[in-house]
Symmetry: C2
Subunit: 190 residues, 2 copies
């Protein structure tokens, strides 16, 4: 069975968005920092290899309704893997690409796991990842660490406290980004 993971481009001081939703020109610069194309990015060879492998290994995703609406439902096709579960209080009709789940994060991840098979499940965005973390379902965190200090804004995964990680399991140097993977360790910290 694959792993359940979440990730985000994050500043060195821990923000996924700067004050007043600023900073994205820094946080997402690595999306266009090279010549190698992968999933809509034009990035460095190292980042493309890393991100491409991650996407290839991802069979399904769990997202919130906000993200679904914001992207206009990705034009009707699952953005990652073959299926996306949308956790929502306002379900639409299920179809081959999307399942609308009203039964909470555990059930949403369970459905995604069924679709993913041996491949991984991606959880997006931060609010969903946080729910999965609190429910003990999130297994890995993929940090795309970007060399900028934003000094405020939306922190990665706040609020919450004291989740111990293991790793980094891997460190990949791109151009303008360091990709770090960590395993979440639940239970009493040593």
């Amino acid at each position: 069975m694959g792993r359940v993971y979440a990730g985000a481009s994050t500043s060195v001081d821990g923000y996924v968005s700067g004050p007043d939703f600023s900073g994205f020109e820094h946080l997402f610069r690595w999306f266009t920092s090279g010549e190698v194309e992968v999933a809509g990015l034009k990035t460095s060879q190292a980042s493309a290899d890393y991100y491409g492998a991650m996407l290839a290994n991802t069979g399904a995703a769990v997202v919130g309704r906000t993200l679904y609406d914001h992207t206009n439902g990705w034009g009707g096709t699952s953005p990652v893997g073959s299926h996306t579960v949308v956790l929502t209080h306002r379900p639409l009709e299920d179809n081959e690409h999307f399942t609308f789940c009203t039964e909470g994060i555990e059930r949403a991840v369970e459905i995604a796991r069924e679709h993913a098979g041996d491949r991984d499940v991606a959880v997006n965005s931060g609010q969903m990842a946080r729910q999965a973390l609190d429910a003990g379902l999130l297994e890995e965190i993929c940090l795309d660490l970007v060399p900028v200090l934003l000094g405020g804004g939306t922190p990665f995964f706040a609020p919450g406290k004291g989740y111990v990680l293991e790793g980094p399991l891997s460190v990949v140097e791109g151009v303008g980004v360091t990709h770090l993977r960590y395993r979440v360790r639940y239970g009493s910290p040593a």
Copy 2:
């Protein structure tokens, strides 16, 4: 001339202290994660090499009065390098190990540079580092990235915004910590 740098043990979500000053058992675990002794730490070989070289290359420090008082003046001896400049509104008498500077961060760094010679100047803690950053004096940031999610507390370097960094200049894997060095780039972001 050496570089002016600041650093901190920081959680993956960007906090140097958790909610209600929690989390230090995680943030500082790498201080005692091995058998190699350096400057009061017992840590991994990699961290000891990294930290030992950093200390050996540091000729002087700039600290705030709060840290000076909190450590009881380090028993009268400069904690790093041969001299420490204490930025304060309540100066004590200068001595061979300490200069008490009331003239602002620029002057404090200038005095420290004179004492450091060709070696580096360390700026501690976060509030001083932030002043040095805002004054355009901080040249490098040394991030000791610790695999824990604290979910709140005191962020690294807040408030502030939009300082672009270069690097990482180096990535060193310790046990329970990843040491990342970045250069601060001032001026208009590209």
